[in-house]
Symmetry: C2
Subunit: 366 residues, 2 copies
């Protein structure tokens, strides 16, 4: 682990000059873990398990007494400093030791009230907002990360297979979602990577349906979207099944979405662009007269965060050139109001010769 961390630290330091900073304050939990190995979790938007302070020649992890032992054990390369009165008050002394004059901070994760407190304490340090310094490094995964994602995905798939084998008829959405979560947790997942979606019949037309009391019925679309967090890494998968006989609408929609997913997977290779991958799926649905019912992007990066770069969407701000070892979802969907929907989601890695699909579970399960 240590050599990886050192490699990442080396890389993040390479970004300092362009960002005009000499020290970086890392407060986003995934970046903190990526750069230090410390797995402490923030339990709320205004709660923090600590921050990293990375300068050209110092590595500091500042946290409170709750996390002190864990931080020392996990972040071996870092000097652990325990603050008693909160970060803002103790920051001047730490930064003086580091010789900081321009401190980069992740503005996505700093509240205005934190900023005001820190600003008040730091009279001789310039605060420099930065965006995505570490996120950009995380876009291409190391092999050890890809293996961690694969394990997280296989855990999620095994849980779902077991759920299907033990399916009771007449189960409602909320119970189904829980039965999937329960199996992931009992198999060792620290948590779900997002609340499990189980959406039946017309509810499957809502891409982010909240599980309700609606019952599972034969011949209706049953849409599931779920994932686990295992050793810090997320997985994300969707399947849509039908019990009993599939009607013509289901067959038509399912086949169109399935083929759209295949077209997108086939388009993946280093040097292709994210908007082209999205278009490969979207154009196929257009040919089938269904593209107007595909209202979201094709996919998103997955790693330490459930949603990370790159975004594969026609409206994404960045059109990203694919590089080897990027990991993202490919999840076309077609949603027909009052009928339901079909979404099929796999995870892929960009390899030299094209996409490697990380999933083991069949896409067609009925």
């Amino acid at each position: 682990m240590l050599s990886q961390i050192r490699h990442r630290i080396h890389n993040i330091r390479q970004t300092f000059e362009k960002a005009s900073i000499d020290t970086l304050l890392v407060s986003i939990a995934e970046n903190r873990m990526y750069l230090s190995g410390f797995t402490g979790q923030d339990t709320g938007f205004d709660e923090s398990a600590g921050v990293l302070l990375i300068s050209g020649d110092h590595l500091v992890l500042a946290t409170d007494s709750r996390y002190e032992i864990q931080a020392q054990q996990e972040a071996e390369d870092f000097e652990v400093i325990c603050y008693k009165k909160g970060l803002a008050k103790e920051l001047p002394a730490i930064l003086e030791k580091l010789g900081t004059s321009r401190l980069g901070f992740e503005r996505r994760r700093m509240s205005v009230s934190q900023y005001d407190m820190i600003r008040e304490q730091l009279t001789s340090v310039e605060l420099v907002p930065v965006d995505n310094l570490c996120e950009n490094l995380r876009e291409c995964k190391e092999e050890v990360e890809i293996e961690a994602i694969r394990k997280s995905l296989h855990l999620a798939e095994s849980a779902f297979s077991d759920f299907l084998e033990n399916l009771e008829s007449g189960m409602n959405e909320a119970r189904a979602a829980w039965e999937i979560e329960r199996r992931m947790r009992e198999a060792g997942a620290r948590s779900v990577s997002f609340p499990v979606i189980a959406a039946f019949s017309a509810n499957a037309a809502l891409p982010h349906a909240i599980p309700s009391e609606r019952l599972m019925e034969n011949s209706q679309p049953l849409l599931f979207d779920w994932g686990a967090v295992l050793n810090g890494y997320c997985s994300d998968i969707s399947r849509t099944i039908v019990l009993g006989r599939a009607d013509e609408t289901f067959k038509k929609v399912f086949t169109a979405v399935y083929d759209a997913q295949q077209k997108a997977i086939e388009a993946v290779r280093p040097g292709a662009w994210t908007k082209d991958i999205d278009a490969a799926a979207r154009n196929h649905l257009h040919e089938k007269g269904l593209d107007e019912y595909f209202g979201h992007g094709l996919g998103h990066g997955v790693g330490l965060a459930i949603h990370e770069a790159p975004s594969l969407s026609p409206v994404a701000e960045r059109n990203v050139e694919l590089k080897e070892n990027m990991v993202f979802t490919i999840e076309p969907g077609v949603y027909l109001p009052d009928w339901g929907g079909v979404r099929l989601e796999n995870m892929v890695v960009v390899r030299a010769n094209g996409a490697e699909v990380l999933n083991s579970l069949d896409v067609k399960l009925f």
Copy 2:
């Protein structure tokens, strides 16, 4: 529900003049629910299910398409506006309709990057940081809220009783924590109010121990701290038990903590001060020579948030005069390094004649 929401809206509007604002942007999820009834959840620190915009005569809930139907159903008094390009871009049009010139925003929940985006869009509106406008209203609970908290607590207690009845010897901490969580979730809790703590033997000396592989052993302190979220309301409870024979250290520490909790409960009444309640427990532990092992505050408010005002601590910034219908925890603890610890936590409501303890579960369970 509607008359409650209207009452709350009336109260929040009363705070505008002192805060020098004519409109309030509400982005903290608990405040959003309290003031509108909308139960959408933010799934991450940079993710939002929407915001409220409350002016003197308008109520707007701005959200995205994922939450549109839910928002319309739950927030009956609010005009639901669905943004397509994110809040910042559509805010100017909404605020023009509201006639806003001074917009209060909750600076604890607004990131610097959000602030920068909004600031860029709003050329003729003054942005005014505000703190705790709604949190202060939430400090004293309505009876319907107290009942919701009571139900959440009873669910958590029933889950724990069932866990104890089915206790398997040799269980480890992680498994025990999961067994408690599983029972709360299966009884209808939307989630745990914080990750369940199960800390055995020397691990019980760490107030925020993370459940590990450590096994349950006879004659050792077994500390549990857990709670549920039910219908939006949190519960929080701790118990420390021993299996088999309790040794003299355990008996001495348990009795001291138990009595300290009693002293604090007896001190609760309208007009008393939070620091006095803390001192009632702390002084008792001082008499027993154990106060140096009680390293945290005595308690905290609980409601829609698991930690809210008031804070009962010797180092709290505010010393708060207790008012009727405040709800908070009373949780003294004594932690002996290398031995373990005892924490006992109940939830109380301030009533005209003193504390009403919301718990049904015995404090002494061995």
